[in-house]
């Protein structure tokens, strides 16, 4: 009988229940709520569902994910060593059409202006007591670019990676709710009704040369983001080349789905109670919202300036698409513009600043890495 009790006690002591804390319980509840939002409410289900499940897994005690070799170690390695974000960027590149941007290069400025949100939250984070590396990683949430946020957080503030990734993806899924009030605040009804001219047709030559030249220029200027920009443009080249259909298909479908599972689950695995349930997480969530709002406002205000400068040819609403979130932010510009004028089709015009925002966020990340440097390991 004693041997039975001893064996039973041994099983209990080795179980997760014995080491289960209140924090683990709260984080599992957070995971379940995120799972409900993803599946029940349809908020970014492809990303939020694996993040939520990863969060639940991360809060099971005694799993040895951090110490024992296995699939979870592989996933965490991919997160912490910049493997997955560049692969996601390749898929994004394969799905992106740079045509609207090449046809109307001045929309690059809108993509640059919307990066103001990054620096507003960076300043806020520094004033709230974060280190300069942490502030830079938090600021990049304003770029509305998940892979770049994870890339920079893994390099500059790995301890905040979970909070930063969750804030970035949560706000990206809430773009249709966050942006319209800000867009309406900074534009008049007349502004929103502006119909933009049809974009010119971009030649195959331009679409082929653009990714190559952009990669060489940005990589030489900012080597730390060479892998991000390089993979983005490589994916785009697969699609635009016309003779690499199989590679393009793999990059934007099979590989993208596999890496999304790894990246999102890995992000969830970083959401451990001891590192996530902190006062800093609340601050990061608030700063992320400030960053999104400031980026949207800056884009729309710059759009108004552009509208004034070109004699009313630019609809300022496309400025809000400068915060990346491809293609959701461009769709929001289209929806708000069409509410003001049902005959208005802004989607293709908004795709210009939208993809410019992706490049702008990567440039901002590279500049901060070059200026501030990664966190000491």
């Amino acid at each position: 009988m004693d041997a039975f009790v001893v064996a039973l006690m041994s099983v209990w002591n080795d179980s997760g229940f014995a080491a289960f804390s209140m924090g683990n319980g709260i984080m599992m509840l957070v995971g379940i709520i995120l799972l409900y939002l993803a599946i029940g409410k349809g908020f970014e289900p492809l990303l939020l569902a694996p993040i939520a499940f990863g969060c639940i897994l991360a809060n099971v005690p005694k799993t040895g994910f951090d110490t024992d070799p296995g699939i979870m170690q592989v996933i965490l390695y991919g997160i912490n060593n910049e493997v997955f974000p560049p692969l996601i960027f390749m898929g994004v590149g394969a799905m992106t059409d740079f045509g609207p941007l090449i046809a109307n290069p001045k929309t690059l400025l809108l993509g640059a202006a919307a990066q103001a949100g990054v620096f507003v939250s960076l300043i806020g984070a520094l004033f709230l007591g974060f280190t300069v590396q942490e502030a830079a990683a938090i600021g990049i949430i304003g770029g509305a670019d998940g892979p770049t946020a994870i890339y920079l957080a893994a390099k500059m503030a790995p301890q905040l990676l979970g909070a930063i990734a969750v804030a970035a993806y949560s706000y990206m899924s809430l773009v249709p709710l966050i942006q319209p009030p800000i867009m309406k605040l900074f534009t008049t009804e007349e502004d929103r009704k502006i119909v933009m001219e049809q974009l010119r047709t971009v030649s195959h030559f331009e679409k082929m040369v653009f990714p190559v030249v952009t990669t060489i220029f940005i990589s030489l200027l900012l080597p730390p983001v060479c892998s991000l920009i390089g993979m983005l443009m490589l994916g785009n080249l697969f699609t635009e080349a016309g003779c690499l259909g199989r590679l393009s298909d793999t990059a934007q479908n099979a590989l993208m789905n596999i890496v999304t599972i790894m990246l999102a689950t890995g992000t969830g695995l970083t959401m451990k109670a001891e590192s996530f349930l902190t006062y800093q997480t609340i601050l990061i969530i608030c700063l992320g919202l400030v960053a999104f709002a400031a980026g949207t406002a800056a884009g729309v205000i710059f759009g108004k300036l552009m509208c004034w400068a070109d004699g009313g040819k630019t609809n300022p609403l496309i400025g809000s698409a400068g915060v990346s979130a491809v293609p959701m932010a461009a769709r929001v510009s289209q929806i708000v513009g069409q509410k003001a004028n049902p005959g208005n089709f802004l989607l293709m015009h908004a795709m210009g600043p939208n993809v410019a925002g992706v490049i702008g966020t990567a440039v901002a990340a590279g500049t901060m890495l070059a200026m501030i440097g990664p966190a000491a390991k």
Partner: protein, 108 residues
């Protein structure tokens, strides 16, 4: 390494604007250097009426059948088709791309 938040913000914003402006210049240069760009016609083409004659020679029965079916689906008779011309804009391509982007639910 500076820790002045204002200085970091101003320097970064300047670099982001600078890089994207240079990219814009590069795009303009690519457009100018494009060897495949259509040259503007040196003189006015005198025979615009020749085009329909060339089109008429082709066997477009399948295309005509598809268009007739589409018109019929809209509630009109195929007899009401006076002529079929490709419109100058790339509206169908744009429409297809817009549809693809509207179908995609995820964003990255």
């Amino acid at each position: 390494m500076t820790t002045n938040p204002w200085l970091i913000a101003i320097i970064n914003m300047t670099i982001v604007f600078g890089v994207l402006i240079i990219l814009g210049v590069i795009m303009s240069v690519i457009k100018v250097c494009d060897p495949t760009a259509k040259k503007k016609p040196a003189a006015k083409v005198a025979a615009p009426a020749a085009a329909p004659a060339v089109v008429a020679k082709k066997d477009n029965a399948e295309v005509i059948a598809v268009i007739a079916a589409a018109v019929a689906a809209c509630g009109c008779s195929a007899d009401q088709i006076a002529c079929i011309r490709r419109i100058p804009s790339n509206g169908w391509t744009v429409n297809a791309r817009e549809e693809v982007m509207n179908v995609r639910k995820e964003c990255f």
